[in-house]
Symmetry: C2
Subunit: 370 residues, 2 copies
């Protein structure tokens, strides 16, 4: 049972909470071991875990998921509601009452729970108080277990290979869409359960953060960028790789190399004890020194069961890095209307130097499609 219930209990005590409730598919998976894909897609079909300070945890799901959860969850108390007949909030209120928690301080994920559900819950349990517990789960998920790091490494390697082989098999006159389709097929072939997102653009469109691939033919000399993520047994990958159709223009090559150099400067600063905001600052200063335009709200993020997790590498995050954190480091610089240059790799913080998980391709220069 990888979820550390004891740690959760000590965090409840520190936060004066009598129970924690998880609603997001990420935290329900993290606490129970059950990945319920339909809760992600059908948001009113809420799954929930309740971890009281004293006593056993409970998982609550809609009745059609019950048999699967009974066989697959670490949590053995399983309760269910019938969709359209009973609100998940009624079931939660019933279970809280049964456990003597109707007048207690309950942690809930306020950055997930829908307003309409919260209105029902607070009306049904007027004597309870509800505090946000999202930070407690974030604090627990931030340090990855060795099995999670292995999975993230497998995801990173598979994703890197999927992109690289798509660039290698591309030729002159290829369209954005045909390269994207090859990447998606490769990603699945190398083990992704889902294609979470695939951003791909060429030429001028690379200045958008998230261009959608079209059937535009890529002209000789144009740069191509892709930002791609798959889900592997519930864990995300997230990488950016650039290429160029034929010979690169000198300016494009220079800009790319500068952004890549900045990324390595950031990675070099990844050490236990460094503040997340420091990495943002490194990027900002490095871009300025190199004459690159800087407009990013963050320069990277943790990832795992969630795509953007703590530590977020933004200017306001003073959290210090610890061994076992996994980061996606993604500096991006644009010349508006002209082009954008970026690279993103997944790395793990260790007690010494950081380890780059996506290190199988040579990223020093733009990859040249011949």
């Amino acid at each position: 049972m990888p979820f550390n219930f004891e740690d959760a209990r000590s965090k409840m005590i520190a936060n004066n909470l009598d129970a924690l409730v998880a609603f997001s598919p990420e935290n329900v998976f993290y606490t129970s071991g059950c990945l319920l894909s339909t809760s992600q897609l059908i948001r009113d079909r809420l799954s929930m875990t309740l971890i009281p300070r004293e006593g056993e945890p409970t998982i609550m799901v809609c009745n059609i998921e019950e048999s699967f959860v009974r066989e697959n969850a670490w949590i053995k108390n399983v309760r269910s509601y019938v969709e359209f007949q009973t609100s998940p909030m009624e079931l939660l209120a019933t279970v809280l009452k049964e456990q003597g928690l109707s007048h207690s301080a309950i942690g809930i994920e306020k950055m997930y729970l829908q307003t309409a559900y919260f209105e029902t819950l607070s009306r049904t349990l007027p004597e309870a108080t509800f505090e946000d517990d999202g930070h407690i789960f974030n604090d627990m998920r931030i340090i990855k277990r060795p099995d999670e790091i292995d999975l993230l490494e497998r995801a990173a390697v598979a994703t890197e290979k999927a992109v690289q082989l798509a660039y290698e098999s591309a030729g002159r006159g290829e369209t954005e869409l045909s390269i994207a389709t090859t990447m998606r097929q490769n990603l699945v072939k190398f083990g992704a359960d889902q294609i979470a997102f695939l951003v791909l653009g060429s030429g001028r469109k690379t200045y958008h953060a998230h261009p959608i691939p079209t059937d535009n033919r890529i002209e000789t000399g144009e740069v191509i960028t892709t930002d791609i993520g798959g889900v592997f047994s519930g864990y995300y990958s997230d990488l950016t790789r650039m290429a160029v159709m034929g010979s690169p223009r000198k300016r494009d090559s220079e800009n790319y190399r500068k952004v890549r150099a900045t990324q390595r400067e950031i990675i070099d600063k990844v050490r236990v004890g460094t503040q997340a905001s420091k990495l943002y600052e490194v990027c900002l200063n490095s871009f300025r020194e190199k004459g690159l335009r800087f407009h990013m709200p963050h320069v990277g993020h943790g990832l795992g069961i969630g795509l953007h997790e703590e530590p977020l590498l933004n200017p306001f995050n003073n959290r210090r890095l610890e061994a076992g954190m996994v980061l996606a480091v993604e500096p991006f610089s644009v010349e508006p209307q002209v082009a954008g240059f970026g690279i993103e790799d997944m790395i793990v913080v260790t007690d010494s130097e950081p380890r780059i998980l996506s290190h199988h391709t040579d990223t020093e220069d733009l990859y040249i499609i011949r």
Copy 2:
């Protein structure tokens, strides 16, 4: 500009609302034409559209999406916020104030907006009242335009083909995972941008609603079920198909044929004016007559930009069918611990008989993998 702003305005008048705000990626896409995939994955990075009863609509996104939205949205007023620096709720409150709406009745998606964001919004605009407007968007999205039906048909046909070819290329001794991987690759090859979900199980595991494929070798005589959905230019497909490894057991074949017959009975009742709840009743009665166990909270659902949309085919939905609705009809019967039997097809309601969009394979019997 496919979004009907005039219709939205008349619905606001009927509901005594001064403005509508959309937060869900589905409704932001529907109102603006912009599919912002990262808003789906990074939920705090909210995108929003504001449609006032009088005046022009506004789209609000985080600053890194701004250039893309300016080039691709139907809505020409684009406003942005910087993540981690300004809450999307602060920007929304500012725009509402600018438009003289700070004391107005504002429709918001209460089944999407996170509790924490709503707390900020209602604190920032204490004189405004906030009502749920989700039903207004649901009512608009329920009737599909011809271009949406074309897209859903393309999605249905591609998905059916992806499954069928995976079953055809499977052989004895295949694992669940290897069939699933082929299906995923096919789905991408036939045009899916994302694999939204892929449920696949064999033998006893088919009694779960959503089994996850494993590397279990499928034994001769075992049934296999898959429930699969892709996203095609922002629109979902959703199909269930069953097969059997080698010759089917007589009882499995009979059970499958009964469920399939029920599905056709339901589809035969799909006519303009029929209540959604009536289709549920048809399934319930048909299962009882045939001696099948019935435990479903619904027997199908609308689909489009969302996976589960109105009309939901549950016992409480008295909404009447209209031409242009697209439904997934999915009866499912289980023998607990033994097996489950289901089939799901996408159909469009027309002025005469319903049209099945996924009609290219023969589903009368279990598909036999030889």
